[in-house]
């Protein structure tokens, strides 16, 4: 038995299932799946530029005859939804498993959508494991089902499954050979004439699966007391077992389609039936639609994560624990000491610009004291949204606003927005904060880093040439720590009635190998003006009489030194 993260168990499952191709775009909480798969030499693994492409590569691999797995976070599935709905029709050759990690409670996401709706609307079966052992087992089962029923299979994780460790027993990989590829336009070319026929197949497939799933071992009844019956799946099963070990359970391993007869049987054997599911009432509504009385969302929220205490209290009606949390100052996440984004946001604040923002570490620049961003919607949105602002508020307003995006996000889905601006004669100024890594999710490589996920050298995507090819004539590459030039260039570009792109290039502070000596503040020189606190560096603090730099945190970037009017900083000689 090995103690394994849920995401690592998914990777192990892929290995044991004989997967040939694994693709992904990083996204918390799904990222580590593909990082762990990359450690298996047998499996071709890639970071794709975005989830749609990752999905398409996996579909191609599947139709070519190899088993393929593609992983993403919940919002990534929105990006990949287009191919998803149609690969439901084409079905597979080698098995195809789509892993999607939801984030109830939004630990690291911009919304808490429920991916189970995708399974329902795309007519694709979905499995949901409740611990790491199941995560591994369900991946293998998903491949079997995929090939048996000629369907992609969704595997749904949530943050607490992805990022919890539990014990897993390892098995040897299955012997799996590549299936023969034969040209079959009736199955793989979804023109209307073919697609209509395939839709008939899809509907029958889902009926068959719904019927057969009553016999699947992963949908299991655990009869104990008949007083309380609980239908649940995934992590909520664990919370509910913790709260009511003596209750009866119908634990669903497959959350779409539902095993109707099994549910009817279970409901008839218990006095009060509860459906427990985080987020949307998807199981509950189906159960009720079959005329089965069940209690669900009248007691439980569609928001956030559940807990064992919450379940115990809601069902028993007895207050479980009233110990309140202490009132304390918040501790929000911050840009790291030395982060190059901090310098960009300092410049933006000086210029008092409106800024459409995007998804990445730099989203943290929204928070006090930098307060640099006005919007954050989804990957790539900053550019199109800046254009939208201009079309309502006019060119004069566009001269006081910018779009802010990172290198990985720009490659993911920002480039299309830039094409739009050029084509439709916008004048936006777009800043690409290029730290040449996908940083927020934990430093994954991307086309701008010059390395693949396997650590092999790769061609470096030249952002300047790319932006030029789109039709941008005003392009600058700047060091964000050069505050003077940054301010000048920004002001100049904002005035132009043409679109501009400014690439602020400097490596992520956590990866920057060029070590600088940390700084300290000379008390005799410090006038205690507080200017250095305005950059929001966690290494600088105000003590009684003057500012102090924590030399254990400081990475010596020198931003505070550049803005100090009294030359109060000096390098610490270690």
């Amino acid at each position: 038995m090995e103690l394994m993260l849920g995401n690592k168990a998914v990777a192990r499952g892929a290995y044991e299932a004989g997967v040939r191709v694994a693709t992904a775009y990083p996204g918390t909480p799904s990222t580590e799946i593909t990082e762990f798969i990359a450690n298996y030499d047998e499996i071709y693994t890639e970071w794709s530029p975005n989830e749609k492409i990752a999905m398409e590569v996996a579909i191609g691999a599947s139709i070519a005859g190899g088993r393929a797995i593609v992983s993403m976070k919940h919002v990534g599935l929105n990006v990949a939804a287009d191919p998803l709905f149609t690969v439901s029709y084409t079905g597979v050759n080698g098995g195809l498993v789509v892993v999607v990690a939801d984030d109830p409670g939004m630990h690291s996401s911009q919304n808490e959508q429920d991916s189970r709706y995708y399974a329902r609307s795309a007519h694709i079966p979905m499995l949901e494991p409740a611990d790491s052992q199941e995560a591994k087992d369900f991946v293998k089962l998903a491949f079997e089902l995929s090939e048996k029923y000629d369907t992609p299979v969704l595997l749904r994780l949530t943050t607490r499954i992805s990022h919890s460790q539990s014990l897993v027993s390892l098995e040897e990989p299955l012997p799996f050979s590549i299936k023969e590829y034969t040209k079959n336009p009736q199955k793989y070319v979804m023109m209307p004439g073919m697609a209509r026929k395939r839709h008939v197949f899809v509907e029958q497939r889902m009926k068959d699966l719904a019927k057969d799933s009553c016999e699947f071992e992963i949908n299991r009844i655990e009869m104990r007391s008949e007083k309380i019956g609980i239908i649940t799946s995934g992590i909520v099963y664990q919370y509910a077992k913790e709260a009511f070990p003596e209750a009866s359970f119908l634990k669903l391993g497959m959350v779409h389609p539902l095993p109707k007869d099994l549910i009817l049987d279970f409901a008839s054997r218990v006095e009060t039936l509860y459906v427990l599911e985080e987020l949307e009432p998807i199981i509950e509504e189906q159960v009720r639609s079959w005329g089965i009385p069940a209690i669900g969302k009248e007691l439980f929220s569609v928001q956030g994560e559940y807990t064992a205490n919450m379940i115990e209290q809601a069902i028993s009606g007895i207050t479980v624990n009233t110990q309140p949390a202490e009132e304390l100052p918040n501790r929000p996440p911050v840009l790291c000491p030395g982060c190059p984004h901090r310098a960009v946001f300092y410049t933006l604040k000086k210029l008092k610009l409106t800024a459409t923002g995007d998804i990445g570490c730099y989203t943290l620049g929204t928070l006090s004291p930098l307060e640099g961003l006005d919007t954050c919607v989804c990957m790539g949105a900053s550019i199109g949204m800046a254009h939208g602002f201009e079309k309502v508020l006019g060119k004069d307003f566009a001269k006081k606003m910018i779009g802010v995006i990172g290198d990985s996000t720009f490659i993911h889905s920002g480039i299309g927005g830039l094409i739009d601006i050029v084509y439709n004669k916008g004048i936006s100024t777009i800043l690409i904060l290029d730290n040449s890594i996908t940083a927020m999710t934990g430093h994954q490589d991307n086309p701008s880093t010059g390395r693949t996920i396997k650590g092999e050298e790769a061609p470096i995507l030249d952002l300047v040439t790319l932006v030029k090819a789109v039709g941008i004539n005003n392009i600058h590459v700047l060091d964000p720590f050069d505050l003077e030039t940054s301010r000048k260039v920004l002001k100049n570009e904002l005035e132009k009635e043409e679109p501009s792109v400014i690439i602020f290039r400097r490596p992520c502070a956590l990866l920057d190998k060029s070590k600088s000596l940390p700084l300290r503040i000379v008390p005799e020189k410090c006038k205690n003006c507080g200017l250095c606190l305005r950059i929001g560096c966690p290494a600088i603090q105000k003590l009684d009489e003057c500012m102090v730099i924590d030399d254990a945190l400081c990475n010596g970037c020198g931003l505070c030194e550049r803005i100090c009017r009294f030359n109060a900083m000096e390098r610490v000689d270690l």
Binding site: L3, H163, Q238, Y239, N309, E326, P329, P538
Partner: protein
């Protein structure tokens, strides 16, 4: 046996994750059922972080409920107070005597409470307060403060020293085994 619940809290970047993984491996070595819940992603960037470690005969939920932690190990003073309500009555509280100002304090929007240790001592918890940073500095690497704290915790369990050594050695990066063992020993034998 009832499950043992250990909540490890601190500030992103302090090494709480590694400590929880040592505990996870220890429990697995001792053939307990074990679950460890971690925090990845955005919250790791200097935010308030929490990891849950639960082990025993059978563990369902990877999360410790409010009021049910047997041990609360905090890498930072204010975080100890923030998560104190997770500790069961009479539970064990181990606190690293270090304060790290959060951004609202740095910007002046909030004040770092100056009575944290008093408030902690007033709770029902058996509180141990130790400056693991100073001990780690003495050993020569501030980053092994987490192993010092682990040593303090280990002392108050009935698990053999040898088992701790083994779990620690197989969890930390190979070239840091020696210094981590040293830090662990300092914590284990610290007079607190």
């Amino acid at each position: 046996m009832q499950s043992i619940n250990i909540l490890i809290v601190g500030v992103g970047g302090q090494g709480t994750l590694l400590t929880s993984r040592v505990l996870g491996n220890l429990a697995s070595d001792l053939e307990y059922d074990v679950k460890v819940s971690e925090v990845h992603g955005m919250a790791q960037r200097g935010g308030s972080v929490v990891t849950h470690v639960r082990f025993g005969k059978k563990v369902y939920s990877p999360l410790i409920e409010v009021g049910k932690a047997d041990i609360l190990l905090s890498f930072e003073k204010m975080e100890a107070l923030r998560w104190l309500h997770y500790l069961k009555e009479g539970g064990m509280l181990i606190v690293n005597d270090q304060s790290i100002n959060p951004m609202p304090v740095i910007t002046g929007a909030a004040e770092y409470p100056d009575d944290i240790l008093d408030r902690l001592k007033k709770s029902t918890a058996k509180a141990i307060i130790i400056n693991a940073i100073d001990i780690a500095k003495e050993i020569g690497n501030i980053r092994v403060a987490n192993s010092v704290l682990l040593g303090v915790l280990a002392k108050y369990t009935d698990i053999d020293y040898k088992n701790w050594e083994k779990a620690l050695s197989r969890t930390v990066p190979p070239r840091t085994v020696e210094i981590n063992l040293k830090a662990f020993d300092k914590g284990y034998n610290a007079r607190v």
